[in-house]
């Protein structure tokens, strides 16, 4: 079904001769024209080279010789010569078919684009996007208004009492009752968390992110941060998965695939696991630090510093080529609401099918850990490092749960705060440590899936030590400075 009559461009003389010599040596069937294969071979396409070595056997040697001869004939790489010829033909065609009716004037979107890419005005725009998109819309509206409504009104007043009554009436066994409707029950905690806390936060984040994505703001942001990102071993392109990480680190880890080199993918995965709090976790941390603006600033500052330091160290340690940055800057476009809704829905759909089962599974594990006593044992072990960073032993359980689900961990701290067990300093240290602490179980599994078992585990072990070291350091500094926050 090859089509032979379509437009085909000719190259200059010596190149055509080399092409036909290679073509005459290609005897197998390649499903595409031999001419195309020959052109790819001349451009040192390694994948094609392997194919012909496999298919043409002894003739492959001969073909390689022709390629060498052709390369020696030109002072530029052949891919360059060939691309030039194609571009020349393309230019001829474009000029023949395109006509310009009027000179385009600088449009509003073009002016806006310039403002976004100018470092002087781009910074404030970024802050505005973060403030309104992340803080106001996701934080205040999603994590505040919507969560309050769903959690207090819907679950607190209706679902939980209903389920608790139903379960205690229908199932006599206390253990099973606990599993379904206890303090950490699958329904009273697992489902409540999923629908009353995570859903509104994650949904508002994905919604805001979709708007930002569809306008074309992200490539402009990438261009602004590229130089900074180079210092931490990444290119500006990495800004997309990293920003998505503020919604869901697990999804963002999957998106690191768009990064061009393995080195960048590993560094981005590490930073996502360490220093990018997901929206669910951030929601609870904002609640924890409510009314403590200084605490919030210290938390932000330390996390940002850790992000830079960890990235810097990783880029020094990791071998491999340095990243290059090139990215097309698409025109700014007005987002289509239908696409934003569909995209948000499709991401939420993914989130709930991929993450929710793991969360329910985590609830079951927590339940199992409790009835078997394993948890008590692990909590006892964790109490030591918790003590070193100056936290009360009760915080250990929050950290253990934090591994299973980041938001559980933060929520555990919330309970401690309510009970008045945490001082201001302890609150800040615990917020910092739990933000940095191991990723949730879903992210751990994704790290292993995307980066391999060894790298996944290595990242986790590094984070375990690093997060507590930072907690320890912050505690030490606060104590030495004799600061009581």
């Amino acid at each position: 079904m090859l089509k032979d009559f379509a437009k085909r461009i000719g190259y200059d003389d010596p190149l055509e001769i080399y092409l036909s010599r290679i073509e005459s040596l290609l005897l197998s069937d390649y499903k595409i024209t031999k001419r195309a294969i020959a052109i790819l071979l001349l451009q040192e396409d390694n994948e094609m080279l392997d194919r012909i070595k496999d298919k043409e056997k002894e003739r492959a040697e001969e073909i390689l010789k022709v390629i060498q001869e052709a390369k020696a004939h030109y002072s530029h790489p052949l891919s360059y010569i060939i691309s030039l010829r194609r571009q020349k033909e393309t230019n001829r065609i474009s000029q023949a078919v395109m006509s310009f009716k009027k000179a385009g004037k600088v449009s509003f979107s073009e002016r806006l684009s310039k403002i976004m890419m100018n470092p002087l005005t781009g910074g404030p725009i970024l802050l505005a996007v973060l403030y309104y998109g992340l803080y106001k819309f996701v934080g205040t509206f999603g994590a505040g208004v919507l969560v309050d409504f769903l959690e207090d009104k819907v679950f607190g007043n209706y679902v939980n009492p209903f389920v608790t009554n139903l379960v205690s009436a229908a199932i006599p066994l206390k253990i099973i009752q606990d599993l379904l409707a206890g303090e950490y029950g699958v329904i009273t905690l697992g489902v409540r968390y999923a629908f009353a806390i995570i859903l509104p936060i994650v949904a508002t984040f994905f919604f805001a992110f979709a708007i930002v994505e569809d306008t074309g703001y992200l490539p402009r942001l990438a261009m602004l941060v590229d130089q900074l990102f180079k210092k931490i071993g990444l290119s500006g392109r990495a800004v997309i998965p990293l920003v998505l990480g503020f919604g869901c680190d697990t999804m963002a880890t999957m998106v690191t695939r768009t990064l061009p080199t393995k080195r960048e993918r590993i560094i981005a995965t590490l930073l996502l696991a360490l220093a990018i709090p997901c929206s669910a976790q951030m929601g609870v941390i904002l609640a924890l630090l409510e009314g403590r603006p200084l605490g919030l600033i210290i938390w932000l500052g330390v996390i940002f510093l850790v992000f830079l330091i960890a990235g810097y160290l990783a880029s020094k340690i990791m071998p491999g080529e340095l990243p290059t940055f090139y990215m097309e800057i698409p025109p700014l476009r007005l987002p289509q609401f239908s696409n934003i809704f569909r995209k948000t829905a499709s991401r939420l759909n993914w989130y709930f099918w991929e993450i929710l089962p793991l969360f329910l599974f985590a609830s079951v594990l927590i339940w199992l850990g409790q009835i078997t006593g394993i948890f008590n044992f692990l909590v006892k072990i964790l109490e030591y490092p918790i003590g070193w960073i100056g936290l009360p032993p009760q915080a250990a359980i929050a950290f253990l749960f934090g591994f299973f689900r980041r938001d559980y961990g933060a929520a555990g701290l919330y309970d401690l705060k309510k009970a008045g067990l945490l001082s201001g300093n302890q609150l800040i240290i615990s917020c910092i440590t739990i933000t940095l602490f191991l990723p949730c179980i879903a992210q751990l599994l994704m790290n292993v899936k995307e980066r391999g078992l060894r790298m996944g585990i290595a990242i986790s072990i590094f984070i375990l030590f690093f997060s507590f070291s930072i907690g320890y350091a912050v505690n030490l500094i606060l104590t030495l400075l004799n600061l009581q926050l």
């Binding site: 790819l40 385009g104 695939r257 476009r333 696409n339």
Partner: protein, 165 residues
């Protein structure tokens, strides 16, 4: 089932085209590299059902990134009976070299001049008939986000399949 592969440079609207043809949803954004995996769906065009394949963006038939390798493998190994080469019409000069490479390879290509609305806004006119004559393949103008030109595209696909497959 016969296959239709949607190919082209990053950020030209391949995934929107996929969504339009199949009625399913592939994530769409305004930046290059949104699609990292090959997506498959079904589309009924005329009386026939096709498997439609959405591929990650490729700048050239000579791959440099992993995604480009994946996209090329689809074209080489799955032998789609129609290659829909989607291009950002306002960048004809940058996008046509890939079309020329597909034609060089003897592939059955339909060239889709997408985002044609932005071309009009820029005050540019593209002579589609002339372009068809130059390349000797079907050329269709579309605005995938609004669905403009989709009927014509489907008609051309049907015609094309009858003639060559």
């Amino acid at each position: 089932m016969r296959k239709i592969a949607i190919v082209g440079s990053p950020n030209v609207g391949k995934s929107v085209m996929f969504n339009n043809l199949t009625g399913s949803y592939a994530t769409v954004s305004n930046y290059p590299g949104t699609t990292v995996e090959v997506l498959r769906g079904k589309a009924r065009i005329g009386s026939e059902e096709f498997e439609v394949i959405d591929t990650p963006g490729m700048y050239s038939f000579l791959p440099i990134t992993e995604e480009e390798r994946v996209s090329r493998a689809i074209i080489l190994d799955e032998q789609p009976c129609v290659i829909l080469h989607i291009i950002d019409a306002k960048n004809l000069e940058r996008m046509l070299p890939l079309t020329l490479q597909f034609l060089e390879a003897g592939l059955l290509v339909i060239l889709v001049l997408n985002i044609i609305d932005e071309v009009r806004d820029l005050g540019i006119n593209i002579d589609v008939l002339h372009l068809e004559k130059e390349l000797n393949i079907p050329v269709v103008e579309t605005v995938s986000t609004t669905g403009e030109g989709m009927d014509i595209l489907k008609g051309r696909i049907e015609e094309h399949v009858k003639r060559f497959c």
